[in-house]
């Protein structure tokens, strides 16, 4: 400040130090007189007389000082001992907006706002005449305040009495305004820096943190004091640290003010990893040396996570689409194959169908022929039966006619002979009957004519048939059918035939004077018939065989016991045809029990499906 002091002030100070302010008395004198024309400053100024000031000849000092005083770029005011304005330069008038009349002999305090003046006075008193500087404000004529730097020097006489003061006033309004603007700007910048929603940090060219903003502190969880002076790299995840350092150094070396944003993962105080988008901005000094690095950091962790999720979702979606596409392709291929297979199957089916139609025709034809053959067979059987029985009937008839003496008397021997003939006719008739039945069973042409019939009637009919044979061997036949039994819907003649067959069989194999027992009882859905004899019995391995055709013939039993041996096979055929079962149980040496069942409710349409008919054709 002192270097910029006007020379005149320095000179005045010198004067004051030497106590040689020559014009002092004059000024006082003039003051007392109350009247002095302004402008004659030199009259109170003294030219130094000592040898301390270099002797430079600058002409008349009064003129010199006057020139300096008037042309000074600062306002200069002088007051008397009563603090009234007595001298000032034109810059002062200009600065304060006041004319000479406005200023002359005015108390200097009028130039200051009251509070400023109080400060100046206080300073004056406290510093007791020492020149001092202060920033204060002055009043323009229009009452506006002007910011000024005031350099105030108190003038004293040799006795130390205050005789006046010199005020050198520098207008600092502009500077103040600029300073304030700068302060505001700085404040704004600081606010922006601190309160910005992005993270800021400032680094030294070495990478030390010199500043961070609130957001930075908030986001990473560190207080400003924790991080200042530390290396920024210490806050980056380990895996990126080296790369970050290299990148930072390269940036410094490149001296590019801006660089491409980069992504960097930082560790928060709690150890959480956050990803930031980093933008560096280099500040340089006037020698283009890097001063600092300003960095903005944008937290993109969530975005990255969303991106990752999206990417994963997209991948998942793509995978799904791929899978679905692959599946569709597979399905398509399969469908295609299936279509081909279906077409092949269809073709095959058509072929098969055509073959089936042909086969059907063939079968129909064969069926027709078979039916014809069947008919022929039935006819043959009927005709054969008729042809065999007709002569037997004639023989039997005439034997009986003779035996009954219808055509004259016969001798006892003749009658005996006729009896033999008759017995053998009956035997022959049975044989023919059995052969016919077997033929019908074998060819499937045996049919039944069911009618409701009581069990007792069936038994009575059968017993009646076998009575002569039983009598010959003195065999007793007992029947036990006391249980209440429903009437059966069966072919009466055929079932009687079965019972007679079983009884004949029993008689044949029973010793004389034994008993044959018939038992009939209900058995669930069936009626169970039993024919028990006390004969020699049937070995276990023959129990099934006795129902086979010609077993008896084959086994030679027939020759010993008589009969065709067709009775049991025929009986089995008839019982099976009625929906029943037939079997034998036996203990060798004790006797046998032959059993068969008949359903109480006969199977639908079975026994009576076809009527046995005799053709009315010519033999």
């Amino acid at each position: 400040m002192s270097s910029r002091e006007p020379d005149i002030i320095r000179t005045l100070r010198e004067e004051e130090r030497l106590g040689k302010l020559r014009g002092h008395e004059d000024a006082e004198g003039e003051d007392s007189e109350g009247v002095e024309e302004p402008g004659d400053f030199c009259s109170i100024c003294c030219v130094p007389q000592g040898g301390q000031t270099p002797a430079v000849n600058l002409g008349d000092p009064a003129v010199l000082y006057q020139t300096i005083f008037e042309n000074s770029a600062v306002a200069i005011t002088l007051t008397d001992e009563n603090e009234r304005l007595i001298r000032w330069n034109s810059y002062a008038e200009q600065l304060l907006g006041r004319s000479r009349d406005d200023l002359w002999m005015q108390p200097v305090k009028n130039l200051y706002p009251a509070e400023e003046w109080a400060k100046i006075r206080f300073q004056n008193i406290r510093q007791r005449g020492i020149t001092h500087h202060l920033e204060t404000r002055m009043l323009h004529k229009n009452r506006e305040c002007i910011d000024v730097d005031l350099s105030l020097s108190v003038l004293k006489d040799q006795l130390g009495n205050v005789i006046g003061s010199i005020g050198i006033i520098k207008d600092v309004t502009q500077a103040k305004t600029m300073e304030k603007a700068l302060q505001r700007s700085e404040e704004t910048f600081k606010q922006l820096y601190e309160k910005a929603p992005v993270l800021y940090h400032t680094l030294s060219p070495k990478g030390e943190i010199t500043n961070i903003n609130e957001q930075w502190s908030h986001a990473l969880g560190y207080e400003k004091a924790d991080v200042l002076g530390k290396y920024i790299f210490d806050f980056i995840v380990f895996s990126e640290r080296d790369e970050a350092q290299r990148s930072f150094q390269a940036k410094i070396a490149s001296k590019q003010q801006y660089s491409q944003p980069s992504e960097r993962t930082y560790l928060t105080k709690t150890g959480e990893e956050r990803v930031f988008l980093i933008r560096d901005f280099l500040s340089f000094d006037e020698y283009h040396k890097v001063l600092s690095i300003q960095t903005t950091m944008e937290d993109i962790t969530d975005r990255k996570n969303i991106e990752k999720t999206l990417s994963s979702s997209r991948d998942e979606l793509e995978r799904c689409v791929e899978e679905r596409t692959a599946e569709l392709v597979r399905t398509n291929v399969r469908l295609h194959q299936e279509t081909i297979e279906h077409e092949q199957i269809e073709t095959a089916l058509e072929l098969t169908l055509s073959q089936l139609r042909t086969t059907q025709k063939t079968i129909q034809e064969q069926n027709r022929q078979l039916r014809k053959l069947d008919q022929l067979k039935t006819n043959f059987l009927n005709v054969t039966s008729h042809e065999l029985r007709t002569p037997m009937a004639a023989i039997k008839g005439f034997v009986q006619i003779m035996q009954q003496r219808m055509i004259g008397e016969i001798t006892e021997e003749q009658e005996k002979g006729l009896t033999v003939v008759l017995r053998n006719i009956d035997r022959l008739d049975h044989l023919v009957q059995d052969i016919m039945d077997i033929s019908r069973l074998e060819s499937g042409t045996m049919t039944f004519a069911p009618e409701p019939i009581a069990v007792s009637d069936l038994i009575a009919g059968a017993v009646e048939t076998v009575k002569p044979a039983a009598s010959l061997k003195h065999i007793t036949i007992t029947a036990d059918c006391t249980a209440s039994l429903p009437a059966l819907l069966v072919d009466k003649i055929r079932i009687t035939q079965v019972l007679a067959n079983l009884l004949n069989n029993a008689i044949k194999f029973s010793p004389e004077r034994t008993a044959i027992n018939i038992r009939v009882k209900p058995d669930k859905e069936d009626v169970l018939f039993e024919v028990e004899d006390h004969g020699r019995g049937i070995p276990a391995d023959k129990l099934e065989k006795i129902f086979e055709i010609f077993y008896q013939v084959d086994s030679g039993l027939d020759r010993k016991f008589g009969g065709t041996g067709l009775g049991l096979p025929i009986s089995r055929g008839i019982i099976l045809g009625h929906g029943g079962r037939i079997w034998a149980e036996s203990t060798v040496g004790t006797g046998s029990i032959l059993r068969f069942t008949l359903p109480i409710t006969p199977p639908q349409g079975n026994p009576s499906s076809e009527k046995e008919t005799e053709t009315f054709s010519d033999g």
Binding site: M392, I395, I401, I493, K611, G619
Partner: protein, 135 residues
């Protein structure tokens, strides 16, 4: 005295029936087939006819129909080797008046019993009666 007409192509069997029926007192006339039956029937007016079921010539249903239509539908006993149920009679012999059947070979007693059931006699004929072959 009831008149029985015996129709059978087998002469021997015809004779058996004829002998037996005459013996028990019936007036008989024999015929060897359907055509023969209708040749002889006009002058005879049978009370009952025994009809063999298997004969050459006219079929049985035709004979039955004609008997019914032209001769007052006299009762007929069929002589057969196969038995018939009532249902069969109703279906196959519906066109005629079939009253019973005799299965060959038959017992003489069965024959007499069956015939007398459908043609009862007024009185018994003497046993000694000569056999007359009506064929």
């Amino acid at each position: 005295m009831p008149r029985i007409m015996i129709v059978d192509d087998e002469e021997d069997l015809r004779d058996v029936i004829n002998v037996v029926l005459r013996k028990v007192g019936y007036e008989t006339l024999t015929a060897e087939n359907g055509d023969d039956l209708f040749t002889k029937i006009d002058g005879f007016h049978p009370d009952l006819i025994t009809l063999d079921i298997m004969m050459p010539g006219l079929p049985i249903p035709d004979i039955l129909t004609r008997l019914r239509d032209a001769y007052g539908n006299p009762p007929v006993i069929l002589v057969t080797v196969v038995r018939y149920t009532k249902e069969d009679q109703q279906s196959n012999f519906a066109h005629g008046n079939v009253v019973d059947y005799i299965t060959k070979p038959f017992d003489v007693t069965t024959l007499i019993r069956t015939i007398s059931m459908h043609a009862p006699q007024g009185q018994e004929q003497p046993m000694a009666h000569s056999i007359t072959a009506a064929a």
